[in-house]
Symmetry: C2
Subunit: 576 residues, 2 copies
């Protein structure tokens, strides 16, 4: 997995180089930070000639361990103005890995408005003009590509939103059957891909490359242990049974579910929306409905689902907690079928469901439609895809929508919408939103898992916890595995050491692994500081310091000074 | 002129304090920088509770010297995210001065959506709810206020754009007859005023306060000399005869007139649009038409006009070069009557004609309407006033419009539209646009006046010249006089020294006066650096470094490094 592919979107040239030994030791999110710091001017225009779209595989992507196969997609974010790494499942990642490709870097801009497909196989790489894909929704795009390139092609694409360079646009991936549509949703990576004139990437791994491991036996043994740990972990079991939808009930109980544009932290109908009830509903409806399905081949956690309608036909796959909360309670909508449909519409149009749910919430506060207006919500997402004037506002995300309509209550940090954990009642996440180089992004360090050990309403330990979680997240994103694998490593950090040893023959201590995570964050901060979007300049929204959040009636009250001090917090090296 | 009025827009309280001796020595733009640096958190939300609207009179505002009476309006700009001072003529300034008021500072935000008038007189200051003004265009607002408060009330107001907190909104002022409408247009000060729930300010100076001067005789003598110098200066004479419209011909000849969204530097029809021809047309049409009228009482330069239609009725007053270029050639429109009408519409809606002309140019590039579509241009400005969805995009200015429509060619720096001097062929202005704390603002340091002594297409001396011009501009904006008074001081810098001596009894050397200008810029940069919007992070738009500008086919090629070095350029103290 040493091949680095460079595509010049202007000249059309595609070149290949092999990773240097140094580059071989960095992967995924880390590699994105490396490329941005060495090749991309921090103050460049995110949709201009000097930004790069980077598709990067993690360090252990080729090991076949559970959850590998996910892709990190990065570049300078048009949404935040800073560095971005957004990762996603789907089957294309596995196929890229199978070709021994570590990274695909797309550079420069085309001169004209083009709709092209980047075709990647072992013996041929080319940019193919495919005008018939222009402005096609995501499912139709995948369908056309499958017709042309076969059922086993690995597929990634953008929707019309990305083609229109809307900042809320994500990059979609899919499984072989076209059922599970997953998103590298955050940070506007779809707009970045759209700016390069690339509608889709097709990967053919008919001629796979054999991966090389320093100690295949140790690797096999370690992966087996990881799988075992995950299968036995109660949280992972829960995820398979109920998916991330199970979060809703607890989040509602502790009062952090964004409700009607973050004006409340709980939503009465949520009481009826528990994980087990969802799972039972999926089972009861039957048909194509599924709980506990993987999003990458071979994943043992299997938190995804196929959410069916009353006739058993798929509405969306997968419905996850963030989308549910932002497109449901945040819009005052309680019908699970409608929420699933809104999520599907976001997937079709090609926009991040978090950013879009937040933008619609602000639009509803502005009175574009009333909270709870299901038809209105659908209309707004459809208009994004159509590129109507209203759609061109909403498709740019929550901060843009707030500015257009003169709404002051904008739940965003660094121009990016907050996910479904209101930081006034889960203060650790406020710390992450402000200090993470990724902006408001729960995957960068989600304090939700600390609520049993640390009072989420208090200010104590929040900065400390966020720091440790951010380091952990950076490690997992660099390894190329899902955040949900963490229980295995928390339980037995030795597994991490063995992975490095087995794949690279690298003797690395647990302490060094933790510092690796810190180093990734340092690199990212360095880029953001030079881009002018460090936490110094991007505080929590003022209304969250002023307006108490029911039912706890707390505000976000961790001082900006304490937030900025996060980088002085020592990196914990005695636990993952 | 020592009264400082503080209005709390939340509580409605209005308090008064007297300037300290230190505060008495700083005025206008300098005072705005002082308040922002001491009272406003640099990272606050521009339309939030912690920003302040500052209306500030210059150091010599009460001397009656030519052009005094103009107001500096400032705060943290919603458009640029940095400090802003925008000044304007009109009659309200004179009345504020007559009350001995140095500054009005509006703080905090109202809880509800209010339409209020701030009434200021010697014995009474209050916030008056006037719902009948809600969303009224500017001329009607002034008319209603004149009906209620009398013909001699000094008036300032915002249009519907400011009420809707659109970032392109300016603050309008007017003369006693309601003819000349002037704008503190740049930087979104209208949105800031709108966020405070203040639709208008009414000043009654029935009970004036006598100004105090250290040496009234010296002051009288100095002002006389200034007036004489201005009356004899050929440039000033020219301004009276032809107004700033006279710039167009020369600007077109050297190829810097923004044409069809800054894609060319000259526009064929401009050859027919010379200053003398305009003046002749105004004269020929007669009626209410006027050339050579003042915008503040007592101005001897009188660069304003009343532009009449074929029947002699006013279309707009005053039509100036910037508006003419941005609403004319930049939109591919050559009819002077249409341009005047577009300018009038901007004035009615309450938006900066520069920002709006640039936004319309980008919208035309995106195909919202074609270049040259006169009806389309009118429709777009009307839609801003109506707050339609399209209007809400355009009213936010050029950068926002570019983002909404995915247009990469956005002529802006720090989020603010460039005025009518393309920096690819007048490179000194590019230096000013990037390095001025004000963003793309020609009044901050206009290299147009150097074109006879320095090649505008070359890179030599541009940074040096911009530095000196910026210092000069900061001094004049601090004094509270128009930039057009500069010939008097260039000719005889001693006049400046005498002004300080006569008014304040202050023995100040010319060198110290130049350093005062540099100090103002330093204060402003300090604020911007803490707000994260210094020139380090806001370079010239990339297309201006790539795309040669016809007819000279030059790009902007002064290096970012040289631009950032501007603050190391010594301040010239041997000339103004």
């Amino acid at each position: 997995m040493k091949r680095i592919i460079r595509v010049n979107a202007r000249t059309g040239s595609i070149t290949e180089q092999m990773a240097t030994p140094e580059e071989h030791r960095i992967g995924g999110r880390h590699f994105i930070a490396h490329v941005l710091n060495t090749e991309v001017p921090p103050t460049c225009e995110p949709l201009g000639r000097y930004n790069k779209l980077i598709i990067s595989l993690g360090l252990f992507a080729d090991t076949g361990m559970s959850t590998t196969g996910q892709l990190s997609i990065g570049g300078k974010s048009p949404l935040t103005g800073g560095i971005k790494e957004s990762n996603t499942g789907g089957y294309a990642g596995r196929r890229i890995i199978n070709l021994g490709i570590k990274t695909i870097i797309v550079e420069d801009l085309p001169d004209n408005d083009l709709t092209r497909v980047l075709y990647v196989s072992n013996d041929k790489m080319e940019l193919i003009e495919m005008c018939d894909l222009k402005h096609k929704p995501v499912s139709e795009t995948f369908s056309i590509l499958r017709d042309r390139f076969g059922l086993k092609a690995g597929l990634i694409c953008i929707g019309p939103a990305g083609e229109m360079k809307m900042h809320a646009a994500g990059v979609a991936s899919v499984d072989d059957s076209g059922t599970q549509v997953r998103y590298a949703g955050r940070g506007g990576m779809g707009a970045l891909m759209g700016s390069k004139g690339i509608k889709a990437i097709v990967v053919n791994d008919d001629q796979p490359v054999q991966p090389e491991f320093h100690d295949p036996e140790l690797l096999k043994k370690t992966i087996k242990e990881i799988t075992k740990a995950l299968l036995e972990d109660p949280k992972s079991k829960n995820r398979k049974l109920y998916g991330t939808l199970d979060i809703l009930d607890m989040a509602n109980t502790i009062g952090i579910v964004p409700t009607r544009n973050f004006s409340e932290g709980s939503f009465e109908p949520c009481k009826e929306m528990t994980g087990p009830k969802f799972a039972a509903l999926v089972k009861e409806r039957g048909g194509y409905g599924r709980s506990g399905t993987p999003c990458v081949p071979g994943c043992t956690i299997q938190c995804s689902n196929v959410f069916p309608d009353k006739n058993g036909n798929k509405i969306v796959a997968s419905l996850q907690y963030e989308s549910l909360a932002l497109l449901g309670p945040n819009l005052g909508i309680s019908s699970i079928d409608i929420i699933a449909e809104l999520n599907h519409l976001c997937n079709e149009v090609g926009v991040d469901s978090i950013e879009t749910g937040a933008a619609l919430g602000v639009a509803m506060e502005a009175g574009v439609y009333a909270f709870g207006d299901e038809a209105g919500a659908k209309d707004m997402i459809r208009q994004i895809g159509q590129g109507t004037v209203l759609g061109r506002i909403l498709g740019q995300g929550v901060a843009f929508t707030g500015q257009a309509f003169g709404v002051r209550r904008v739940p965003a940090v660094k121009g990016q919408a907050m996910p479904a954990y209101d930081p006034r009642a889960l203060k650790g996440n406020g710390v992450t939103y402000v200090t993470s180089p990724m902006g408001a992004d729960h995957t960068a360090g989600n304090a939700f898992e600390t609520i049993r050990t640390n009072n989420p309403l208090g200010t104590e330990n929040q900065v400390y916890n966020s720091r440790q979680l951010q380091v952990r997240g950076a490690i997992l994103d660099t390894m190329g595995v899902c955040l949900f694998t963490r229980p295995a490593f928390v339980q037995n950090p030795k597994l991490l050491i063995n992975l490095f040893k087995a794949k690279f023959g690298r003797d690395i201590s647990f302490e060094e692994i933790r510092y690796l995570g810190a180093e990734v964050l340092d690199l990212e901060r360095k880029f953001n500081e030079r881009a002018g979007v460090s936490e110094k300049f991007r505080p929590i929204p003022e209304f969250m310091r002023e307006e108490p959040l029911p039912p706890n009636n707390t505000v976000f009250d961790i001082s900006q000074k304490e937030l900025e001090g996060i980088w002085d917090v020592p990196v914990r090296t005695d636990a993952f």
